[in-house]
Symmetry: C2
Subunit: 663 residues, 2 copies
Amino acid sequence: MSRRDLHDRMAHAIRFLAIDAVEAANSGHPGLPMGAADIATVLFSETLKFDATQPTWPDRDRFILSAGHGSMLLYSLLHLLGYESLPMDELKRFRQLGSLTPGHPENFVTPGIETTTGPLGQGISTAVGFAMAERLMAARFSADIVDHRTVVIASDGDLMEGISQEAIDIAGHMKLAKLTVLWDDNRISIDGPTSLSGSTDQQARFAASGWTTLAVDGHDPVAILAALKTAYASDKPTLIACRTVIGFGSPAHAGSSKVHGSPLGAAEIEATRKALGWEAGPFEVPQDARDGWLDAGRKGVAAREAWQARFDALPEADRAEFERRMRGELPSAALAEAIAAVKAKAVADGNAVATRKSSEIVLDAITKAVPEMIGGSADLTGSNNTRAKGQKAVTPDDFDGTFIHWGVREHGMAAAMNGLALHGGVIPYSGTFLAFADYSRPAIRLAALMGERVVHVLTHDSIGLGEDGPTHQPVEHLAALRAIPNLLVMRPADTVETAECWQIALEAKDRPSCLILSRQNLPLLRQADAENKAAGGAYELIAASSEAQVSLFATGSELSLAVEARALLEAEGVPTRVVSVPSFELFLARPLAERRAVIGKAPAKVGIEAAIRMGWDSIIGSDAAFVGMTSFGASAPAKELYRHFGITPQAVVGAALEQLRQS
Amino acid sequence: MSRRDLHDRMAHAIRFLAIDAVEAANSGHPGLPMGAADIATVLFSETLKFDATQPTWPDRDRFILSAGHGSMLLYSLLHLLGYESLPMDELKRFRQLGSLTPGHPENFVTPGIETTTGPLGQGISTAVGFAMAERLMAARFSADIVDHRTVVIASDGDLMEGISQEAIDIAGHMKLAKLTVLWDDNRISIDGPTSLSGSTDQQARFAASGWTTLAVDGHDPVAILAALKTAYASDKPTLIACRTVIGFGSPAHAGSSKVHGSPLGAAEIEATRKALGWEAGPFEVPQDARDGWLDAGRKGVAAREAWQARFDALPEADRAEFERRMRGELPSAALAEAIAAVKAKAVADGNAVATRKSSEIVLDAITKAVPEMIGGSADLTGSNNTRAKGQKAVTPDDFDGTFIHWGVREHGMAAAMNGLALHGGVIPYSGTFLAFADYSRPAIRLAALMGERVVHVLTHDSIGLGEDGPTHQPVEHLAALRAIPNLLVMRPADTVETAECWQIALEAKDRPSCLILSRQNLPLLRQADAENKAAGGAYELIAASSEAQVSLFATGSELSLAVEARALLEAEGVPTRVVSVPSFELFLARPLAERRAVIGKAPAKVGIEAAIRMGWDSIIGSDAAFVGMTSFGASAPAKELYRHFGITPQAVVGAALEQLRQS
């Protein structure tokens, strides 16, 4: 069989597995797998470096299907290449409960999937993080050990999403030469031809950001291979515009939006079989195609073995460090020691500092203890206080740094952070203002869904930021972040709690964290307990002078306000305790009896947070009082705003006494 | 005085008012007003069409400062041009509580401000909506009546935000020739030179999307004027890259990030006075500059009077229609009649339909009754069901349509919708999946802050969308949207409620709405009451057979599930009532006594929604039971998912009986 014939057979095997699985599920997207099968076949059989028997080989090339709706392309490939985890039975259970073949690719479900995609624009942007991680790890461990590519198939929709521009900007600026984007240029989106809504010259757009750009016939394997070789030789990231026909092979629907997201139906499947000369039945793979793909799946074995030999020849300390990092384990003891030292010094100093500054103090210590931490900021470095002493900036020509200037690109930053974490070997953290977490929300959600350790430092966390006004003042953002499943939201009250929250964030290997920090100075309230008290989510900071009549619950900048209110209440003869609540999620995960003990039995309860009440009832109950915000903020000095919106010790006292009267 | 000298004096007046106000507030951003003063002076004194005595003249040019942190540029201009609403005293109260000069420009605070900016990227994207509105209104009322420009000053940060790419794509595709963006190309962002984080060739980037691009010295008034004339003559939108020096005039800080967001300080202000030859004291404007600006403020009077004469010559019906639309008033009676007819027919038909389809049925009727409605979808037209019968698509060459294909650009769409609403004369609505509301969240928040009537149709509202899996299944999105102040979130349960919610959305002149709609079919549950029952936020759908032991509360697709559960409970002898809760916000705005009457006194209460509990306690109390989601969803057919996650009538019955036992 000629090389071209074999190519066609292999590509058709992808096409028909996709057609059959979508048909069986009566749901799914056959158009992309059919259209992009030729690109994928060249990529996986000729250029990508991987070993199907070792899906987690650290130096494998990373492949990302940004257009996640074409998941059957990935599942077909993994199955055909011989990934043991994906037998044909799983393809037959496409989109069924508990299968390894969900509607969109989920890296936490299916071995061999690098990242979860589906929300458009995320894959291409996450890929930037993968490509950066490769360069960062190569700078640390040498190109002998870390030298692989990140290759993306992206759709028209991916390129329409604004996040893709942020990704393109960052990748071009950073000269991520080992990043290659194959654009499935089929000129069809769900509404019809892409000309309905856009006329951007994508090659010119990528070129404007410093990319090499090429265009090929996406059904010509020779041209695709030549383009990939050019891309691989470039010193810049490369876009290859692959002109394809969506639903290639379907006589009635090829080139039409009808084939994007609907099963072909029995008659059209039969017509497609005839058109493509495909004799096999549903879910059957002819032996020639099967053999071609199994060969492709084994091609990387030699490269992987050669890599292993190089790796084994490393000094033991380097091997151990590499393996520790790739396992995502923290350096034993070093972090805990650094945290303990920060807590002790904070208590000794007793200074009032903003928790964003507390975080900087913590970072000065822990970035030394945990050298795989990669910091950054979306152009607010001095405001987020995310750059630790001695952190060198990463530049296009030098990846031996640990701090990234992301520019005003919160969304691209958050997606790239996901890629850094998914690649492994580094722990990304970065900052912006809490109000602008809205910009990165889709990527933060994906981190929570995937269970990735990324740390978002979100400063200027309330009306306490003052004069910048309501556009910059978070009011609903704490609630909105707490709403995301598996996301850890922590709002520490002083330097000791900030240190504890950083420790929790780094030790939470399987979930993202948000550290919610103040712009304004806050007094030190804690002693340097050996115990990480924040880890329980809530704890009694100050007991009542006798049996408590009032329990005050507060987070972050409002904890000191609760302490002031307690003094006023105690002065009036009302025994009052104060409970610090740095994290709802950690608290709510505890057994009911423990929670009840922390909540206590005082007849009056008041929650205090310079934000909306939503979510608080799960802690204090809907009968408790709450002192916080019920509207957007305003532009004025912070102290005036606290008075204006009635978030004062006096208001807390009033609310507590009113509760007592009613009880 | 030479023209150039007068220009300099006028520009310096802006600079020093900005310097003085920031110094007085000890907070703010002098860098941009100082750097962009020359651009603004040319623009406002030579080319913009406006009349300072009539800030709301419908045919004025719209000016948008996308870089909202430079708000003192705007306030200085408005004051100098003679806007009566902004006397010098207000400039002295920059960033103080209750002033007309908040930290970032707020259109709802300061007459003459077109839109709220500050979150970067929003201004330039909102401007696209303004420019589209102009073309839509011109197509309806002729270019004699509607013929104005939209001019933006945008910063480096605006162009780094991904949303700007979506805006650029849309504007270029739609050939919005009357949109001009003046890029304040000062090459400085907060972290330092923009070369730290980017190297995109912005002119090439805009050109790739079909824009005319020019570059000028941003301190050369002759060059700026010439560029504006070229831009105004172009048949495409135009980017003018204006090379400027941030903090122009400050000997020590010009060209440095230090001047971006901090007061200059007394010594440096004095040095700047010397450098620019400025003799006036703080908040003083020399007479020559004052006269020059007042002349500029009066230049538009003749144009406005000529417009008024043309307008007065229109047929009375056209005048009335134009004025009605610009006031934002609905056609009297027509909407209510259309809604009543839809409700009656839905009840007569009795069909089970998805609420997204119900919404389409409503739209078929009301887009005829309310012709200023401009629909759209982010490339999910057939899934969001937002295109009504007979709605013609808007195309680059024909704005006589009422439906916009936005492409996969949720964020740019939402910002442009804000611009459409702010311009006036049209009422924008558009659709995407609820999960992707996260992409447009920053723009939705701004709509809520500004109090603009935009309607977001958000379909596929739960695990009920089925096989697409957790990336596409909203779980926390209802809570996250309900968290935004002033946003109306409505989740109707059948066609009757959907019609009522549409009526509420259109009649809510001063707030945005989200209509949360199902993918799956839902039975008709309501009678065609004349009353808009959804307007109360919650109401009893079915009474208990005798004194209620159980109250079931549900929204949207879970209301029919509550009805099923009620039947089971009543069959077991437990009198049970069902309360429909289409909108939390509307319900919580009612007097306590009314709310208590709706909530009722049944000892057992159960909330039911295929989403997280957050927010529900404000309705049913934290002691009530809740049947919903506590994690991300999964990929499987919808019915299986409801079973898998335990959202079934049986689960509701179990929760209700357990509550009864405990009561």
